[in-house]
Amino acid sequence: MRQGERRYWLDRKENVDKVYWGVWVLCGLLLLVEPLVHKHAEFAFEDWFGFHGIYGLVACVALVLAAKALRVVLKRPEDYYDRP
């Protein structure tokens, strides 16, 4: 943020916190409505309560941790290919 510039909603830290906790609330709501929806699953395990949510959460955490480990091996300086 620059001096004398208009202050945006997201410039305030408490609003960023609102967004963060909003994601938690949304996830909770999606679990709460699950009993109201008839699931016609392709596989039996999809009928487990909250399967897709848990799967998405675990998948993404695993993805990021694996990618982070991968970076250690794969990273090179930005001009790696430009060097003779």
């Binding site: 996830c27 392709e42 799967y55 990021v64």
Partner: protein
């Protein structure tokens, strides 16, 4: 009227040739009019086969108009129109000319009814599109373009050899279902696989697309790989190997996408991941799966173009597209931000956005065939694509920490192009019936069931939660100015390095041999000089007695040698 003249490919190819002759508004009007004329032609074009010509002992078929080819031609024309509008701010005529010729070549290729015509247009897409990379004007882009066009031409060569094998075996060049065990099948499969960016054959895409101009990448993202998807669907539907290939394609690029700093390269990795979904659909080969592939290619071209357009606008205004240097741009570019979010929601498959109505067909087809592992990989990839394309792209470019960079909003022509694409993303997502009506097979599929919507929303919301938590706890790997090694390392570092070692070794060996031979030669010369020199053995007068003795020795040797 033969129907042949209604091929939009001619309009775009010939029209593109005239682009450099026009200036200013005339050129703008011309490049926008060409795809529109193409659409009108497509509208008038009846189904059927046109342009059957005798060739050698066989025949070629320049145009085969059916549901597959019409669908791809339509979305290619939409992409050409959007990209043309997006290119209007560019002062040079090269980009719209090359882009429209490239689009025309791709349309010619999807209409091709035989492998020879396909080969010609296949190569034409390569040589026209490389100018979109070279238009960047840097030495780096020049080298990337060279690598790109070499890979593309290699794919074309394989296609030609495969076509000739088929001709030799069957006497026909017709492009029908080929299969891996068909004559020429493996070569043609490899040719399509290169262009479709199969795993380990993929890296030409991530290498070249992010090096093109902001306009070039939008054109590039639409045609080459989806032409390959079309060709695979025609030639190799139901080939089981494609399920595995596609599943790997959906999963492995997203690991790279998470740690990549160049945001257009992130999109190139996610393009690869989206192609994986289509390839899985082709491998499954049921009507639902193939419909899913066709629908996903259609929606994907539009939302991918939208994402590349938004990142291109950032590159154009800010001058960099590295995530490590961006952030907070929503203040300067609110419209671009909004359009980017629409594209991000579409690629992530949010309900009411276009990706949802097409990707779910492929995932359902995998589930319906009880392919458990494939199904789980596709779910993982769906979560992953939201993670890196849906969140990472808008987050690092427009939000994250404020980079302090301030710029103008994107030019009006870019905003119009993005608005059209965004409207299509939302329109197809809310009301998919017109798209379903165009698909190759009758559609008996309902995307919007409570179960689909809820499970997809859960998957996405919890993925977002994972991102939010990892970001807040600082576990998420920060954007850093790094490059990550990929398979291009093999031909950019390993092979040149190995050749360098070989060349150095050869130079050393050659030096040693020269030395040995020079020294040996010098010694032989000295011996000769001693023998034949002024005072040498052969220069001296020999006595008669010595001569007679010598001759006697020779005769004796001769006698012994001939004696048996």
């Amino acid at each position: 009227m033969t129907g042949l003249e209604l091929n939009p490919a001619w309009t775009l190819l010939l029209g593109a040739a005239l682009v450099p002759l026009l200036r200013g508004r005339w050129r703008s009007a011309w490049v926008v009019a060409l795809p529109l004329v193409g659409m009108a032609q497509l509208w008038l074009l009846p189904a059927g086969e046109f342009g059957r010509l005798a060739f050698l002992s066989s025949e070629v078929l320049i145009m085969r108009v059916d549901r597959w080819s019409s669908l791809f031609a339509l979305v290619f024309l939409i992409a050409a129109l959007i990209s043309s509008i997006y290119s209007l701010h560019a002062r040079d005529s090269l980009q719209p000319a090359a882009g429209l010729a490239y689009a025309g070549s791709a349309i010619g290729a999807v209409f091709a009814g035989d492998l020879l015509t396909l080969f010609l247009f296949w190569e034409l897409t390569a040589v026209t599109s490389v100018f979109l990379v070279w238009a960047r004007g840097s030495a780096r882009a020049y080298r990337a373009g060279m690598r790109y066009v070499l890979v593309q031409l290699l794919s074309g060569m394989l296609l030609l050899f495969g076509a000739l094998q088929q001709l030799a075996a069957t006497g026909s060049l017709r492009f029908e279902h080929i299969g891996l065990d068909g004559p020429g099948g493996p070569l043609i499969f490899l040719a399509f696989g290169i262009k479709c960016a199969f795993p380990l054959l993929h890296n030409w895409l991530q290498d070249s697309y992010p090096e093109a101009t902001e306009v070039g990448t939008v054109f590039l993202s639409a045609f080459t790989t989806k032409l390959a998807v079309y060709a695979l669907a025609r030639g190799f539907a139901g080939t089981g190997e494609l399920i595995w290939i596609g599943a790997v394609m959906t999963a492995f690029p997203i690991f790279y996408a998470v740690i990549e700093n160049d945001l257009r390269r992130v999109l190139a990795y996610s393009l690869n991941n989206q192609l994986g979904f289509m390839v899985v659909g082709i491998g499954i080969g049921t009507e639902l799966a193939l419909n899913g592939t066709a629908a996903h290619a259609f929606t994907h071209i539009i939302y991918k173009a939208l994402l590349f357009m938004s990142m291109g606008a950032v590159l154009y205004r800010v001058g960099t597209i590295n995530g490590s240097e961006l952030g907070g741009l929503y203040k300067s570019m609110p419209w671009t931000t909004a359009f980017c979010i629409v594209g991000a929601a579409s690629i992530s498959g949010f309900p009411l956005f276009s990706g949802f109505v097409s990707k779910s067909m492929i995932v359902s087809a995998a589930g319906g065939e009880a392919l458990l592992l494939t199904y789980l990989v596709l779910l993982f990839a769906s979560a992953g694509v939201f993670h890196h394309s849906g969140i990472k792209i808008p987050y690092f470019a427009f939000f994250a920490h404020d980079s302090g960079k301030r710029c103008e909003e994107a030019p009006a022509n870019m905003l119009v192009a993005m608005a059209i694409a965004a409207a299509l993303c939302i329109g197809l997502g809310v009301y998919p019936a017109p798209l379903y009506a165009l698909l190759p097979y009758p559609v008996d599929y309902v995307a919007y069931t409570g179960s689909h919507v809820l499970t997809q929303l859960q998957l996405l919301a919890f993925s977002a939660l994972a991102f939010a938590v990892l970001m807040r706890t600082g576990i998420y790997p920060p954007e850093r100015r790094l490059v990550n090694l990929d398979t291009d390392w093999i031909y950019r570092r390993l092979v040149p390095g190995a050749l360098g070692v070989l060349a150095a070794g050869w130079a050393r060996a050659a030096g040693f041999l020269t030395q040995v031979m020079t020294a040996g030669g010098r010694r032989a010369r000295a011996a000769f000089d001693r023998a034949a020199g002024a005072d040498g053995l052969f220069a001296r007068p020999w006595t008669t007695r010595t001569m007679a003795l010598c001759i006697a020795v020779f005769l004796l040797a001769f006698l012994l040698l001939s004696y048996r």
